[in-house]
């Protein structure tokens, strides 16, 4: 029988794909108790490192270990080359779009994207209008979620242009794999990922507003209660920059300073992992204690750069997502290399009618939702859940988009009963500096550990895998 989903190792059942050949041989030869033992070692390793992820709404386990699966996800070098070209094109278009959104909005004038979707978007920040950023870089760090449906087709599921997380797992997973399975790395050429911190630092340096001086970079975190705090401290450590909270910074005469034991130190680039809303109580939420009062004054004066820029959320909004193919064509004059998942915008009456009629076949998502919250996976939901969701949809149609349920590719994964196929996605990280684009080959592979599940989000019980890009 032909399985419905494309398997990264076995394709549509035609046998082991070449990029998995070496791994499969090793898996076949390895005694099963060895694999079991390595799995236990892997779990211990991660517990010791303390890599955790806070799950909202789960009081009992404020910090939980994200399950790590030791069977890597393998992508052939040739496949990656095409994928990375598509990623670079996509992020270039995102940056051009943001420059325009906060500039003259030619794309609205041209009738490509409705004005309302931009001006009334909750993530649109009027405060960014007419601001010139170093190198016109808005999205310096992008996490583009892609899924695969067959040997040749990758779809972009989501653009993460605000504060994409997960890169620490990419790095930690690789370190763990090298420790656990050195023999596998000796057998074939696997592209390294450990250059990521250097590439990120170079990217951040490239957008400093003060040329000719060694830039002072800081990583701004909301603090230990944030779900991604582990990653913030991990990255600050790898980058060799200070991990700061809002109260460690202050603004004087439109410049940002860090409090240090040797007195104030001028800050040039802020790698911000704080939501825009909390950045500056003088401009955004006045009750925020996480931000830096006056930060936007320094930003607007051109005395500090933020990565990512304020207001990038308007580009990764799911309603804007549906326009991405047009956005790529509009700014770059090229056909998109990566495909978009066909998307129904429920704000359009015919689309809404179609979606309500086909709820059982579709995935319906909140326009501004993330982390897999507030979404309906039609085929997996019972009639009552669908009915409830239909009511929500009818009340605020403009708040939702719908997409067909894709047969995401599967990857062999350790489960209770042995090795079985589980659905995966991939989040590669694209770094855009004023000088060039940098993409570390690989990314974070997330796996839905529940049989048949398509939700890979770690907040919804997903796990991760190491991602191998093979050399040629």
């Amino acid at each position: 029988m032909k399985p419905r989903a494309f398997d990264e190792m076995g394709g549509f059942g035609e046998g082991c794909r070449p990029c998995y050949a070496a791994l499969k041989r090793w898996l076949d030869d390895a005694p099963s108790d060895l694999l079991d033992q390595r799995r236990k070692e892997a779990e211990l390793l991660f517990r010791r490192i303390g890599i955790t992820f806070a799950v909202y709404g789960e009081q009992a386990a404020q910090e939980r270990l994200i399950p790590f699966d030791i069977i890597p996800r393998v992508i052939a070098g040739e496949e990656w080359r095409k994928l990375s070209l598509g990623l670079e094109q996509r992020v270039k278009a995102l940056n051009a779009f943001l420059k325009d959104v906060y500039g003259n909005r030619e794309i609205v004038r041209a009738g490509v994207v409705p004005e309302e979707l931009i001006l009334c978007n909750p993530y649109f920040r009027p405060e960014m209008a007419q601001l010139r950023l170093v190198g016109d870089i808005y999205v310096a760090i992008a996490g583009i979620d892609v899924v695969r449906v067959d040997a040749d087709t990758f779809y972009v599921l989501e653009d993460n242009a605000r504060t994409p997380s997960g890169v620490s797992y990419m790095l930690e997973n690789r370190e763990a794999m090298i420790r656990l399975f050195p023999e596998l790395f000796a057998r074939q050429s696997i592209a390294p990922v450990d250059g990521y911190p250097d590439e990120l630092l170079a990217t951040l340096h490239s957008i400093t507003p003060r040329r000719g001086e060694e830039p002072c970079v800081v990583l701004l975190t909301p603090g230990p209660y944030n779900s991604a705090y582990y990653e913030h401290s991990f990255l600050a450590d790898k980058l060799g920059v200070e991990l700061v909270e809002g109260r460690d910074l202050f603004v004087r005469d439109e410049m940002v300073f860090m409090r240090t034991t040797q007195g104030p130190k001028r800050v040039d680039v802020i790698y911000s992992r704080i939501d825009d809303d909390f950045l500056d109580p003088l401009v955004f939420r006045p009750d925020s204690v996480l931000g830096v009062p006056g930060l936007m004054l320094a930003y607007r004066a051109g005395n500090v750069s933020l990565a990512n820029a304020v207001g990038t959320g308007v580009a990764d909004d799911k309603a804007i997502y549906s326009y991405m193919p047009e956005i790529v064509r509009f700014y770059l004059g090229e056909e998109p290399i990566l495909q978009n998942v066909p998307t129904w915008r429920c704000r359009e009456p015919e689309a809404l009618a179609y979606v309500l009629d086909h709820l059982g076949d579709l995935v319906v998502k909140e326009v501004n939702g993330s982390g897999g919250y507030g979404m309906l996976v039609g085929p997996a939901a019972d009639a009552a859940t669908r009915r409830l969701f239909a009511e929500k949809l009818k009340r605020r149609p403009d708040n939702f988009i719908a997409q067909p349920t894709l047969a995401l590719s599967t990857c062999p994964t350790f489960v209770g009963s042995g090795i079985a196929p589980r659905h995966v996605d991939l989040r590669p990280f694209v770094l855009t500096g004023a000088d060039k684009v940098r993409i570390v080959p690989g990314g974070l592979t997330r796996v839905a550990l529940v049989e048949g599940s398509l939700v890979v989000n770690s907040s919804q019980g997903g796990g991760t895998k190491d991602t191998w890009i093979l050399g040629e």
């Binding site: 005469d253 009750d287 006056g294």
Partner: protein
């Protein structure tokens, strides 16, 4: 009419604050019906007052103070020549199309109370937008009582409406929230009002709303008085809500109790000698 404004805000800290930062939107721009004859901002402390413009085109001044700060005052003094334009506002600096002012903000997010209010004027609005907006302003004026204790600067439009009490800021937020819900771009305006009852010394500045009406452009509505602004109004800044137009926003580091003393004088310019 020639209006003279003198507005002082004094901050006292006990114990002294370590540092402070403030963002002021305290300088009016000239437009049709409003000519700024002269205007001065003064901070009585050692600092650099940096003039600028916010994203919506309002004039801003920002400054930081290094402590210990026991007290400081921000004072504006100026004179504005005004003409009655029946509420129609022309010649203002506009950095965005009116569509921006359909955005919801935390302070103006419509809730069920706002929806019900909007429902009451929906029909009138459909027939004649201007009459509908006057209806809305008049309804708010009739239904809301003036009370400086009932709300704070963080009170949302819907909450104030449910309370039935508030200050001009709440009245304006209710108007904006309902108008936007009905698809009419609306914005918050801060400024000063020369009162017709002769009360020169006031506790605070004034706030009202503007709505964008096809064919006319921006039109002012003052739901606190149930009428459109006249030549007794001095327009300071316009934004999506109070937070974006606030005359003074500040933050300080360290220090104890903050006490605030505000004095606003709005009078006919010719009377200034007697004051």
């Amino acid at each position: 009419m020639r209006i003279r404004v003198s507005h002082t805000t004094r901050y006292d800290y006990s114990p002294p604050a370590k540092s402070a930062i403030q963002l002021l939107r305290l300088t009016p721009r000239s437009h049709e019906g409003q000519h700024v004859r002269h205007w001065r901002i003064d901070v009585d402390a050692q600092c650099r007052l940096k003039a600028g413009e916010d994203a919506l085109g309002n004039i801003t001044h920002a400054f930081t103070l290094e402590g210990p700060i026991q007290s400081f005052s921000v004072t504006v003094d100026g004179e504005v020549e005004t003409q009655d334009s029946a509420g129609v506002v022309r010649g203002t600096v506009e950095r965005f199309p009116p569509g921006l002012f359909l955005r919801t903000t935390a302070l103006t997010e419509p809730d069920d109370a706002i929806l019900a209010l909007a429902g009451e004027v929906r029909e009138a609005m459909r027939r004649d937008p201007i009459a509908g907006l006057h209806d809305l302003s008049g309804t708010i004026h009739a239904r809301m009582g003036f009370d400086t204790e009932a709300t704070t600067t963080a009170t949302k439009a819907g909450a104030a409406l449910a309370l039935g009490h508030g200050v001009c800021q709440d009245f304006a937020h209710i108007f904006i929230s309902a108008a936007r819900f009905l698809g009419v771009p609306a914005r918050y305006v801060s400024g000063y009002l020369l009162r017709d009852d002769g009360l020169v010394v006031q506790e605070a500045g004034h706030a009202w709303a503007e709505a964008h009406v096809g064919g006319l452009g921006w039109v002012g509505f003052d739901p606190a008085h149930g009428l459109s602004p006249t030549d007794a109004y001095v327009r300071l800044a316009a934004a999506l809500d109070y937070h974006g137009a606030a005359p003074i926003l500040g933050s300080r580091y360290g220090g104890g109790q903050e006490s605030l003393d505000v004095s606003v004088r709005v009078e006919h310019a010719r009377r200034q000698i007697q004051s």
